[in-house]
């Protein structure tokens, strides 16, 4: 396990370094002077002497590798710079927004994983039955439906027509309680979790179909075990490795897909922040948000890999 852990750690560090390089280079790959990208509309109003002084103060006149090391050092100390648009430190804003996205992603996963697993098991143990066909059809529809389309249907139905749930935001004006948060969380969590549930259901079904065809399942039945025991104690436990893999991969999807859902529901998460920053050309904010989300994704995938290796010894032993 130690060698496998070390190998994956080295790979993770390599990918993280590459991510930091890409995020750093974003500013320099954008057309025009990096200073204009940072300053936005104010760039045209500042004199050349002032621009040169600003360039020197920000270290933009230094060679790129020196700038990168300086930027990386600041990032590792938690200093993601300052937003020229909001005129605030980026770190605290991102930390606050990341919490909102984590709440949304956790709620979506809490809904998607059990639903997807149960549906996948139900479909897989009764292959080609009417139930299997229905679940598979719904799962296919769930995978194909655009998040922004599903979100608008949910808003139209539950917020505008039935007036049951709020259409946008994380809290109502003047409210900050848990019940208010949960009411605001339901629709975006369904919108974000539905495609994930569909993917989990399909993969679980596929794994269960493979496992139910195995000899040990036939043996378990021949021993006279109840079908529920055969399914959950024998079949599902062997399908669990693939299920955990797909659930782990879906966590990454939830982080990425959150951008669209947060925009539809005006959920104040990091995805919404990033989208807004791109539209406003707030480059330092975009850099900070991309860095945090990409790093979180890599670390989560690493944790999932470790979990996978813990459950299945063949992985860590390289068999």
């Amino acid at each position: 396990m130690g060698r496998y852990l070390l190998g994956r750690l080295v790979q993770m560090v390599f990918v993280l370094v590459a991510i930091t390089a890409i995020v750093f280079l974003m500013l320099h790959l954008a057309p025009g002077d990096p200073l204009s990208t940072i300053m936005g509309t104010k760039y045209a109003r500042v004199s050349d002497e002032a621009l040169e002084e600003m360039r020197h103060n920000l270290g933009l006149d230094k060679p790129l590798p020196v700038q990168y090391v300086s930027w990386l050092g600041n990032v590792l100390r938690g200093d993601l710079g300052r937003s020229p648009i909001l005129r605030q430190e980026i770190g605290p804003i991102i930390a606050d927004r990341l919490k909102a996205t984590a709440i949304l992603a956790a709620a979506a996963l809490a809904m998607a994983a059990p639903l997807g697993i149960l549906a996948g098991v139900a479909a897989g143990v009764r292959r080609n039955s009417a139930g299997d066909r229905l679940i598979s059809t719904v799962a296919t529809l769930g995978i194909c439906v655009p998040a922004f389309f599903l979100g608008q249907i949910l808003i139209l139905l539950f917020a505008l027509r039935l007036n049951l749930l709020p259409a946008a935001g994380m809290h109502s004006v003047g409210e900050s309680g848990l019940v208010d948060l949960l009411r605001h969380l339901i629709l975006p969590a369904i919108c974000l979790g539905a495609p994930a549930a569909a993917v989990i259901a399909r993969m679980t079904r596929s794994s269960m179909v493979d496992v139910m065809a195995q000899g040990y399942v036939t043996t378990a039945r021949a021993k006279g075990l109840r079908e529920s025991l055969v399914t959950w104690r024998h079949a599902f436990r062997n399908a669990l490795v693939s299920v955990i893999t797909v659930v782990g991969l879906e966590i990454g999807f939830l982080l990425g897909g959150a951008v669209l859902v947060e925009v539809v529901f005006s959920w104040p998460g990091i995805g919404y922040l990033m989208w807004d920053a791109v539209l406003r050309r707030d480059f330092p904010m975009v850099q900070g948000a991309v860095f945090v989300v990409a790093t979180s994704y890599v670390v989560i995938n690493f944790v999932v890999d470790m979990l996978y290796a813990t459950i299945d010894p063949r992985i860590r032993l390289g068999r």
């Binding site: 194909c144 791109v278 989300v293 994704y297």
Partner: protein, 292 residues
């Protein structure tokens, strides 16, 4: 175990079996029908559209579907929804297909080189793919568009880049299997150059999984492009593109839900059609990919 060359009649029989498998697969039939209808609508847009999709008429804003002269209603600027949706099929389908073509071509080159040469080439290519896959799916497209700016062409490039790692992995896996075949070894023995072996022997045998991957992928790339347009980072107003139509109609959703629901429904149906077709094609073709 020596591979037995197949005769011409055996190849003909296999092709017939493949066509029969495809024609019996409901996914291929339903999905293929949806995609074919969309392609026909896109090609015949100037004939099918009742009016110019860009002509505004402020006096006839947000008319509901079924209004006289506007079977699917009008949008916030009085433009005919049916016409905009018909012309939107061109852009939405076109971007997805072009992005998939770009991604598959690039993936074919990189994947073939990576699988065939191995060593440092393989390491560099696969580590680059790992880095690209380290970004959550739409984030990479947002990063690219943030750097090069919004717009239809930039969306096409960003979405194409998103698709490359998928094709590289498919092609590389196929090449690793194919390059151990005896006909490849025979080509080396008779003195063929690496370039000739890759071009005349490897690539033609890789095309089947690439085509299957293409059919599976194009739906996703259409969705990615529409998502970028929805975020305001893709096609810009007044372009008649389904994602952009959804984005510009959000603020009128309460008054006239049809302006947002109709483009969203079109995207959903097209993506569903592409996925059904791709899944069906994969199921029909997979047994034929095994080299006998």
């Amino acid at each position: 175990m020596a591979s037995t060359p197949i005769t011409v009649s055996q190849a003909t029989v296999r092709r017939g079996q493949t066509w029969r498998a495809m024609s019996r697969n409901s996914g291929v039939l339903i999905g293929g029908t949806i995609v074919l209808i969309t392609i026909l609508v896109a090609i015949l847009a100037p004939v099918l559209a009742p009016m110019d999709p860009y002509v505004t008429n402020p006096a006839r804003q947000l008319l509901p579907p079924g209004s006289p002269g506007h079977i699917l209603g009008t949008d916030e600027l009085g433009r005919d929804m049916a016409s905009r949706l018909i012309y939107g099929a061109r852009l939405s389908l076109g971007i997805g297909l072009l992005a998939a073509l770009l991604a598959s071509s690039t993936g074919l080159v990189l994947g073939t080189a990576s699988g065939f040469f191995g060593g440092w080439t393989d390491t560099v290519v696969m580590r680059a793919m790992d880095i690209m896959l380290a970004f959550p799916y739409i984030l990479l497209a947002i990063v690219i568009v943030a750097v090069i700016g919004p717009g239809l062409v930039n969306t096409l490039l960003a979405v194409a880049v998103l698709g490359i790692p998928f094709y590289v992995r498919v092609v590389r896996a196929a090449v690793l299997s194919i390059k151990e075949q005896e006909y490849v070894m025979a080509a080396r023995i008779i003195g063929c150059t690496d370039r000739r072996i890759m071009g005349r022997t490897i690539v033609p045998n890789v095309m089947s999984p690439v085509i299957t991957a293409f059919s599976l992928d194009v739906g996703w790339l259409i969705l990615e492009a529409a998502s970028l347009s929805f975020l305001g980072l893709g096609a810009q107003p007044p372009t008649a593109e389904w994602g952009a139509m959804l984005a510009s109609s959000r603020q009128y959703f309460v008054l006239a839900p049809h302006v947002a629901l109709l483009p969203g429904l079109c995207i959903f149906v097209l993506v569903l059609g592409c996925n059904l077709f791709g899944d069906g094609l994969r199921d029909a073709l997979d047994p034929r990919l095994r080299v006998q």
